[in-house]
């Protein structure tokens, strides 16, 4: 699963983004780095997503989302999407 296919409202654990190092570091600076837990909150026009990183919100294009592996943090019932 990648962030592009991550269900809305479910915390997911990120893996290493398949991007050039500089771009990967920028994602990391914004909180989207391997080992971080984030939540995909909403879809946007053009296939992107708004991702919740703690209290911050980051808009990410679909092509970038596809490069970021993600796995659900915990199994069990999922809360409903926030938006």
């Amino acid at each position: 699963m990648t962030l592009a296919s991550a269900p809305l409202g479910v915390p997911v654990l990120l893996g290493h983004a398949d991007l050039p190092p500089g771009r990967r570091l920028r994602l990391a600076e914004l909180g989207l780095r391997a080992g971080a837990t984030v939540t995909v909150l909403r879809r946007t026009a053009g296939g992107g997503r708004i991702v919740g990183v703690g209290d911050a919100r980051v808009a990410v294009a679909r092509r970038v989302l596809l490069t970021v592996p993600a796995a659900p943090v915990e199994p069990g019932p999922r809360p409903g999407p926030q938006g």
Partner: protein, 674 residues
């Protein structure tokens, strides 16, 4: 880890050689004038409130301009920090010292690449209490260099409302630097002044790097740029993240759990795949209406005042001293007053535009607009937020050029500034309506609509052309955008930002506008032939210039001096095209365009003559050229302020070449159609 001294804060740098990289101590425009005051640089990630802090500490004593040799905007100002006067530099927002844009590169260069003697005497790294983990990364990286560092923490009140409390003492202990809580939006920055003054008094750098922080290359200017990373640098970044995580854990106390707040609720609509574009269009409509319709009555009133009482009064005074009807009267009334008048009529327009921009920026909506329009704008290699200046351009190109300041990347700003003139401003509409009504009757509306469609086509075409030629190196990066929380704009900050940008515009563009209007007056006033011409205006330098230039437009079917003269005047302002025709055809006002002997009849006769009978394609070609070439001298002045003389001239050439080529194509193809 380097621990070398940054030296005494009042050191004499007069003898220092000009560095090969930017420094904070130059004497050129956009830099801090070297006068012995210590230089304090404000650094921080986007949206942490850095510019609010800059505004709060500098008050009205500041200037904003492009850093010398770059197109990156930097604010500089004076700050009375307690009993100490310091110069403040508001560096472009940067997430780290690993730049991915020219703006971030300048921040990196000024902080760690400049000669050590030319670096700021102290760096205030601004961090946000609501987003401490992310905003501390830059601080952690700055701390690896031999710089005096103070952390200013903003948004403590917002964090508190969300159940987050940051212990500044614990944070200071964890990072080894002073940390001060500030609230620049409410002007609460006094604690920072004392800490800065104390830190500047120290001869050794205040910052002691946190244990196990990656070591900076002491004495070396080599800092990794963009994609030139290797595993070692990525490992260093990981160690910084670990330092930050420990500092955050030591200083942050959370009560309760994060919950969806009103900012998220607004975003459900503002960034929604369907509702988001609708909201965006509504906002753009409002911006367009406010910048044109609200400003219009004020502009008219100013114009009426200057062309009526002011000009009339001046004529009366000159008449009383025996200069009535002389060239002095012409210069003062038709040149100087008209030029200043034209400049002043832009003031309400620009003030409204700058205020709206500040509202959109400060409220946080601009970032959402960028998300909504991102996919559309990437067709020409621009990010979503470039949509805003282009929309504004359909009202007036001058504020639109200035509105490109919403773009964080200098290359994107450059491309957008070059594209703005292709947006069909309202001044051009007056000419479309006159010409279309005179030549196309009931189809006039279709022609005007077609001009707007063509305007969009030209924007896309010119964008693709520039991206594949002069701006090939400009990358296209997929959207990854930090969305600031929504907040109510503060009137005090809006007023300060609006005034700062307006005064900067008047300083830069004012001289060019006034000088050009005076020049056109002079050309019209000087008679260069002895009256053999059928019309008096043709005998002026202006008329002769138009006659000489007319053959350039023969391939487009309007190689006539009247049409060419109108285009020359249109270079100054499109509003003057119609009055220019009225003057050269010796008629008062357009009036009934279909009246025998009126302006419409004169235009038809000339187009008939210049096009060899192919009037329709010639008129369309004229309109196309009018749409595509330089909008007005005020736009040029605004462009020069934003992108410099060289790129402005390149833009003028591009506009002329594109406009002429398309106009010729329209005429040559059109005349083949029976």
């Amino acid at each position: 880890m380097a621990t070398t001294s940054a030296g005494p804060v009042t050191r004499d740098r007069a003898a220092a050689a000009r560095p090969s990289v930017p420094s904070c101590h130059g004497d050129a425009g956009g830099e801090v004038v070297r006068d012995g005051r210590p230089v304090v640089a404000l650094a921080g990630s986007p949206n942490v409130g850095k510019s609010s802090l800059f505004n709060a500490v500098t008050g009205a004593r500041r200037t904003v301009g492009n850093w010398a040799g770059t197109s990156v905007e930097v604010g500089t100002g004076a700050w009375r920090a307690g009993v100490l006067d310091v110069a403040v530099v508001d560096l472009p927002g940067a997430y780290s010292l690993d730049p991915l844009s020219p703006d971030e590169e300048l921040t990196r260069d000024l902080l760690v690449r400049a000669d050590p003697a030319e670096r700021p005497d102290l760096v205030v790294v601004v961090v946000s209490a609501t987003d401490l983990a992310r905003t501390l990364y830059l601080a952690a990286q700055v701390l690896e260099h031999p710089l005096r560092v103070v952390l200013a923490m903003t948004m403590g009140d917002v964090a508190a409302r969300r159940g987050i409390r940051v212990d500044t003492d614990a944070l200071a202990a964890a990072l080894g630097v002073p940390v001060v809580a500030v609230d620049p939006r409410r002007g609460t920055v006094t604690g920072l002044a004392e800490v800065v003054r104390t830190a500047l008094a120290a001869r050794q750098p205040v910052a002691a790097p946190p244990a196990d922080a990656p070591a900076a290359a002491a004495g070396s200017p080599e800092v990794v740029t963009g994609d030139a990373f290797d595993d070692e640098e990525l490992a260093a970044a990981d160690r910084r993240f670990a330092v930050v995580a420990r500092a955050v854990a030591a200083a942050t106390h959370r009560s309760g759990t994060a919950r969806t707040d009103w900012s998220d609720r607004v975003d459900r609509v503002a960034t929604h795949p369907v509702a988001g574009p609708v909201v965006f269009l509504a906002v753009m409509w409002a911006v367009f209406q406010l910048t044109t319709r609200v400003a219009a009555p004020v502009q008219d009133a100013l114009d009426g005042l200057l062309s009526g009482p002011v000009s009339g009064g001046l004529r009366a005074v000159l008449g009383a001293v025996g200069l009535g009807g002389s060239w002095v009267e012409g210069l003062l009334v038709d040149g100087l007053v008209a030029g200043v008048g034209m400049l002043l009529t832009f003031v309400p327009l620009m003030a409204i535009m700058f205020c709206l921009l500040a509202i959109l920026e400060d409220s946080g909506y601009l970032a959402r607009a960028a998300v909504v329009t991102d996919r559309l704008m990437r067709a020409v290699g621009l990010p979503g937020r470039a949509f805003l200046p282009l929309v504004v351009g359909f009202g007036c190109n001058v504020p639109a050029v200035s509105a490109t300041r919403v773009l964080p990347n200098a290359r994107q700003r450059l491309l957008t500034v070059l594209l703005v003139p292709f947006t069909s401003c309202s001044a051009r509409l007056t000419v479309y309506v006159l010409v279309s009504s005179a030549f196309f009757g009931k189809h006039a509306g279709d022609v005007v609509f077609g001009m707007y469609v063509l305007s969009i086509v030209l924007i896309i075409g010119a964008g693709l052309l520039l991206r594949s030629t002069l701006l090939r190196a400009m990358g296209t990066e997929d959207l990854v955008l930090d969305l600031p929380r929504y907040q109510l704009p503060m009137p005090r900050l809006l007023a300060a930002v609006t005034w700062m940008r307006l005064s900067a515009f008047l300083r830069t563009a004012g001289g060019i506008i006034v000088a050009t209007v005076v020049l056109v007056w002079a050309l019209s006033a000087v008679q260069v032939t002895s009256g053999r011409d059928a019309e008096p205006v043709q005998g002026s330098a202006y008329g002769q210039l138009a006659t000489a230039a007319a053959p350039v437009f023969s391939p487009a079917g309007f190689g006539d001096w009247h049409a060419t003269g109108a285009l020359l005047v249109g270079f100054v302002a499109k509003e003057a095209v119609v009055s220019s025709w009225a003057q050269t055809y010796a008629t008062q006002e357009p009036g009934d365009l279909h009246r025998p002997g009126g302006l419409g009849a004169s235009l038809r006769a000339d187009f008939e003559r210049s096009s060899g009978g192919h009037v329709t394609p010639a008129v369309l070609a004229f309109l196309v050229f009018l749409l595509g070439y330089t909008p007005c001298v005020a736009t040029l002045a605004a462009q020069r302020r934003e992108i410099g003389r060289r790129w402005t001239m390149i833009g003028v050439g591009l506009q002329f070449a594109l406009a002429w080529t398309v106009a010729v194509a329209v005429f040559q193809v059109g005349r083949l159609i029976p």
